[in-house]
């Protein structure tokens, strides 16, 4: 969501809106996630803003990945052919309708592969939160290893758990990508519309 908002700001006509978003993106894109996690958890705490592990972790992941996602969305939006905007405007669609019905659906299609990678990456990055969290998966592993001295097995199990979480997510997103590319209507409303259209068209051809 934040990524999309940033992308919208960055394709804006007004420099005042583009600049802060561009600065934000460049900043967070070029700082390691680990540093962001430390700043939000330890850094903010030192100036009196104590966040819980979960809050600090989520905040770090959101600000970091929003920067990357905004890049993906921005290039997807500006990748939609200018003729699309024109055709839409020539049909009397306003700016909002043009974006929601013409530009965005096309941008979404080209942004999906990159978004897919980002989401899986995000999920995997939760493992970095080990540095600030005692309850997180990796550190549970450390507790167990120190109790049992079976490091390899324990960390393999943790890796397996990440895989089990990430694989379905990435496969699910790939499936969505394929469905969209094949032109399968995804919303019930659109399915209904196309069904009605088929019936009426068949009658018209006969």
């Amino acid at each position: 969501m934040l990524g999309l908002a940033l992308a919208l700001l960055r394709v804006s006509k007004h420099r005042v809106m583009r600049w802060p978003a561009a600065i934000y993106t460049e900043l967070f894109k070029n700082v390691p996630l680990l540093a962001i996690i430390f700043v939000t958890y330890f850094g903010l705490a030192s100036v009196g803003l104590r966040l819980g592990v979960f809050e600090a972790g989520s905040l770090s992941l959101v600000v970091f990945y929003a920067a990357y996602l905004s890049e993906i969305f921005r290039s997807a939006i500006s990748g939609v052919h200018a003729g699309q905007q024109e055709a839409s405007e020539a049909l009397g669609l306003g700016r909002v309708s043009t974006f929601t019905h013409v530009i965005f659906p096309q941008a979404l299609r080209s942004a999906l592969p990159g978004t897919n990678t980002m989401f899986v990456d995000l999920l995997k990055s939760t493992s970095l939160l080990v540095t600030i969290s005692a309850a997180e998966l990796m550190s549970q592993g450390r507790l167990i290893t120190s109790a049992t001295f079976r490091a390899l097995e324990v960390y393999l199990v943790i890796a397996a758990i990440y895989f089990v979480l990430c694989y379905p997510l990435s496969q699910g997103l790939l499936w969505l990508e394929r469905r969209i590319r094949a032109g399968v209507p995804l919303t019930p409303g659109r399915r209904r519309r196309l069904r009605a259209a088929k019936a009426l068209l068949k009658g018209a051809v006969a």
Binding site: Q84, A87, E89, A90, L93, V102, L194, A197
Partner: protein
């Protein structure tokens, strides 16, 4: 459905005034370079105006000014008797309404690739507040009219160029515009597709659709147009009936253009 019903639905109600589009003193420059220099034209109800001329002469820009996709530097413009532009000011209160009464067909079709043919024809209707059922019926009727009812649920990329352009024509007709603008609608098509599209356009002409048509198909322009305008270097060099401009041009530049374009065909 009967043939006449389809025909009636396509043609807009007669205007009380004669001129559907009236443009005077239109000037437009890009980056300080004059692209249209004091151009004027009038298209009456049920009439067809053809614009011809060399590439780069300003034909597309002129056409795009009519529905204000391009904003003139200076002009006085009326569409359906309503002043939409005066001096250097846009006075059109409702740009969407203007655009709904002016349909446009592009050289490169510009269909929405994420929507099927029938949805392409429906979108503007739905956005204009027309009920789903009515929008669908009209879309199907228009697809029949351009001979593509059997391709209604195909996506643009599954259609040939000629089919795409016919869907684009149906889409432009969906909101019952008072005038249709065509910008070289057959320039990116092979001869067979060109034939299909010109056939549809001729039918529209026969039904009394008001049109402004930029084209290199001079025989077609001669057949259907009421007025031919030759544009060169951002000015209207010559204008008159097809017989006058195409058959017996007065201006040397028109003669040169016609000689070169008949030679290349």
């Amino acid at each position: 459905m009967s043939e006449t019903a389809a025909v009636d639905a396509t043609v807009s109600t007669p205007a009380t005034q004669d001129a559907v589009v009236r443009i005077e003193n239109l000037s437009k420059s890009f980056d300080g370079r004059m692209v249209l220099d004091n151009v004027g034209l009038t298209v009456d109800h049920r009439k067809i105006l053809a614009i011809i001329g060399q590439s780069g002469g300003g034909k597309t820009t002129l056409l795009r000014c009519v529905n204000l996709l391009e904003r003139p530097d200076n002009a006085s413009m009326e569409v359906m008797g309503e002043t939409v532009f005066a001096g250097d000011r846009l006075v059109c209160g409702d740009l969407a309404k203007l655009r709904r009464s002016v349909g446009m067909v592009f050289q490169r079709f510009n269909l929405f690739p994420h929507l099927t043919a029938v949805e392409n024809v429906m979108l503007a209707q739905l956005r204009a507040g027309i009920a789903e059922k009515e929008a669908l019926e009209r879309a199907v009727q228009l697809l029949c009219r351009v001979g593509l009812a059997h391709r209604g649920v195909a996506y643009p990329e599954q259609l040939s160029g000629g089919e795409q352009q016919r869907v684009a024509i149906a889409r432009a007709l969906a909101l019952r515009p008072s005038v249709l603008l065509f910008d070289e609608p057959t320039s990116s098509l092979d001869p067979e597709s060109t034939g299909e599209v010109l056939r549809v356009m001729r039918e529209l002409a026969d039904d009394g659709m008001t049109m402004i048509l930029v084209t290199h198909e001079l025989p077609f322009a001669r057949d259907v147009a009421d007025t031919v305008v030759f544009v060169d270097g951002g000015r209207i060099v010559e204008q008159g009936t097809p017989a006058e401009v195409l058959g017996n041009p007065r201006e040397p530049r028109t003669k040169a253009f016609l000689a070169s374009s008949t030679a290349s065909h």
